[in-house]
């Protein structure tokens, strides 16, 4: 009987040597004349165990990791093909606590299937959502998505159903679905994982969005920093076209939907939806003033749904199991599940999809296992470069849009970056301003000039030049940026700066040693 071995082709696994492991395994299998099929799956998201090799057994999949090429021979000697015991054995994959604690709806197939096998996708429940959607009227699909309570997973948290309804209700001979896959926030990689590990779920979600709103053309705008995701997405689109999931008659229906991947060119601000649209149109990524909303006048001035990868990839399960099924997970006005990315200085970094409501402390200390360096946790940045730094004193904050807002923070794209006690928070505040200065599109003054002035203030504080006065000006500057900027880049840069200042004021006072030296 042919044994099946899984070795991820996800960028994270590749960055840790998965390709070399796959080559070594192929060579050893050929040398021993074994009958083995190797599947290059996505990642399960347990990055401290990557490259994680799995084998199919009668009891389920058994995992080994992290595997080095030099481990391959001993793994086969230990009976890898039967799930034999080895020092790298992790037991049944599904029973690894980090995975067993999760609720995987959006990531149900990621790491399990062959990302480029449409048969595999179908066998694991794929395309059921689209089949259901094809039996409904557009307004009924929109109602189902609204019912689910799904909110934009890119960070803004705007209800997806309402956005879709606006586009559905706006008459136009041409409408677009644009997927924002410009995942530039440090600490986030959920979009990349879905595109590399389960690309068909994104395609299915976009086709459903097209049918629901009357759009016939979709674009996935992603980053040049994601070459593997681009390659896999393009291959998946070609497969979906050939199978009739995309094209003039979607699944033999009267609906048409075409899809194309577009690649950005290294501008962070293009993750902002209107800058993204400008970039897609072939212009500089300059933010547009709203209104008009993209739902009324979006890409090429046409009504456009612009949603994050995770929002769109959550639609198939909603249309498969129903809006109420999805809505019943979560807390308050944050419904469903959220794929949280645990990153930075953390022992167990990876993707953790769970219902809203888990606390920050559980994520960092229990699930993440504390810092990788073994030192105490000092700060956690939630929501990317524009997210607030939280001290351990706020670790009881539940993962929920409103709860984070109440603590002057934001969930953003749900990436959390852990820092140990060696972090200098004044330096982090300065970095936030510097990053904003480099990436500002330049259209509005608070962002373009405020960020540069912010860097100068941070430098003067570090140099001990009238720190109290500088801090007052810095707080005032942040207020101006927050309320005066056109988009979230200038508007949210104050979050990391002010949270660093408020929660870690000791880092903004020059140390006595530094004063003495001057």
């Amino acid at each position: 009987m042919t044994a099946t071995i899984y070795i991820p082709r996800d960028s994270g696994a590749l960055a840790l040597g998965a390709e070399k492991v796959a080559k070594a395994l192929e060579k050893e299998i050929a040398a021993r004349g074994l009958d083995v099929k190797i599947v290059r799956n996505g990642s399960r998201g347990l990055y401290w165990l990557e490259p994680m090799v799995e084998v199919e057994t009668g009891e389920g999949r058994v995992a080994y990791g992290p595997v080095k090429p030099s481990d391959v021979a001993s793994l086969l000697d230990a009976g890898l093909l039967q799930g034999g015991a080895h020092r790298l054995s992790l037991g049944l994959t599904e029973e690894i606590p980090f995975l067993a604690r999760q609720t995987r709806l959006t990531f149900a197939r990621c790491g399990i299937t062959d990302p480029l096998s449409l048969e595999d996708y179908r066998a694991h429940g794929g395309l059921k959502g689209l089949e259901n959607a094809l039996k409904l009227e557009p307004a009924q699909i929109v109602a189902e998505v609204t019912e689910s309570g799904l909110r934009g997973r890119g960070g803004a948290g705007f209800p997806t159903g309402i956005k879709w309804k606006t586009v559905l209700d706006t008459a136009s001979p041409q409408k677009y679905i644009v997927c924002n896959a410009d995942e530039g926030d440090s600490g986030t990689f959920a979009d990349r994982m879905i595109m590399e590990g389960d690309p068909f779920v994104l395609i299915e979600g976009m086709v459903i969005a097209g049918i629901a709103t009357g759009a016939t053309k979709g674009y996935i705008y992603t980053r040049s920093e994601y070459p593997h995701a681009i390659a896999i997405m393009n291959e998946a689109i070609a497969i979906a076209e050939k199978a009739g999931v995309l094209g003039t008659n979607v699944m033999s229906s009267a609906h048409a939907f075409d899809l194309e991947v577009r690649v950005g060119a290294g501008a962070y601000v293009c993750g902002e939806e209107t800058a993204l649209l400008e970039s897609l149109e072939g212009r500089r990524g300059i933010v547009r003033a709203k209104p008009p909303l993209p739902a009324h006048k979006g890409l090429f001035g046409k009504p456009t749904v612009i949603n994050n990868v995770i929002s769109l990839a959550s639609v198939p399960i909603i249309m498969d199991r129903g809006g109420a099924f999805y809505r019943d997970f979560g807390m308050g006005r944050s419904r469903g599940t959220i794929p949280i990315q645990i990153a930075g200085n953390v022992r167990h970094g990876g993707l953790f999809e769970t219902a809203f409501g888990v606390t920050l402390g559980e994520l960092v200390e229990e699930i993440g296992g504390g810092t990788a360096t073994g030192r105490p946790v000092r700060a956690v940045q939630v929501g990317g470069p524009l997210g607030a730094y939280f001290p351990p004193a706020l670790f009881d904050t539940p993962f929920d849009y409103e709860a984070f807002a109440a603590k002057d923070g934001l969930i953003g794209h749900a990436g959390i970056v852990v820092f140990d006690d060696t972090v200098d928070m004044l330096k982090q505040a300065r970095f936030a301003m510097e990053f904003c200065a480099v990436e500002s599109c330049g259209k509005c003054t608070p962002c373009r000039i405020g960020s540069t002035r912010g860097v100068e203030l941070a430098d003067r504080i570090a140099a001990g030049i009238e720190p109290e006065k500088q801090i007052t000006v810095l707080a005032d500057l942040c207020n101006t940026m927050k309320f005066g900027s056109l988009c979230a880049l200038g508007g949210f840069t104050p979050y990391p700066v002010m949270s660093a200042l408020n929660h870690f004021p000791e880092d903004f006072r020059p140390a006595p040693v530094r004063e003495a030296a001057e």
């Binding site: 994270g12 840790l16 060119a265 501008a267 970094g349």
Partner: protein, 159 residues
Amino acid sequence: MEMQTASTDIAARAIEIIDQLKSAEGPLLPILHGLQEEFGYVPPETLPLVANALNISRAEVHGVFTFYHDYRDHPAGRHVLKICRAEACQSMGGDRLAERASELLGVNWHETSADGAVTLEPVYCLGLCACAPAAMLDGEVIGRLDDEQLQEIATEVRL
């Protein structure tokens, strides 16, 4: 004379690329990507050709070309090393490693070494934040970068 031939060749090839891509919706970024993929940079003499083909001003093309960090106006080194400078990598000592890379290679950020071996560039997030610090060497992703690997890279790029 030789220069002129090279320049004519570039123009001819650029026009082919522009013609292939210009009918797409919003073709400017795909064209600039296409030119950079072909030549390793976007030769400045091709920008007027792009403007002409798309019927937009040269200023508009120049504005787009200079807005995006990815596009180069001169060739890179034989190897390109990108090191992530963003927060998740900072939390794992990325700043120190980045300085070390600059020392080992003898170049500053955005610069190419005098022997043309390597260009060093900062990058803000490769999506490898759970295996930080991260880097990319000629499109190959590298996680948990350390001093030893950096040393290997510094030797390798000079071979």
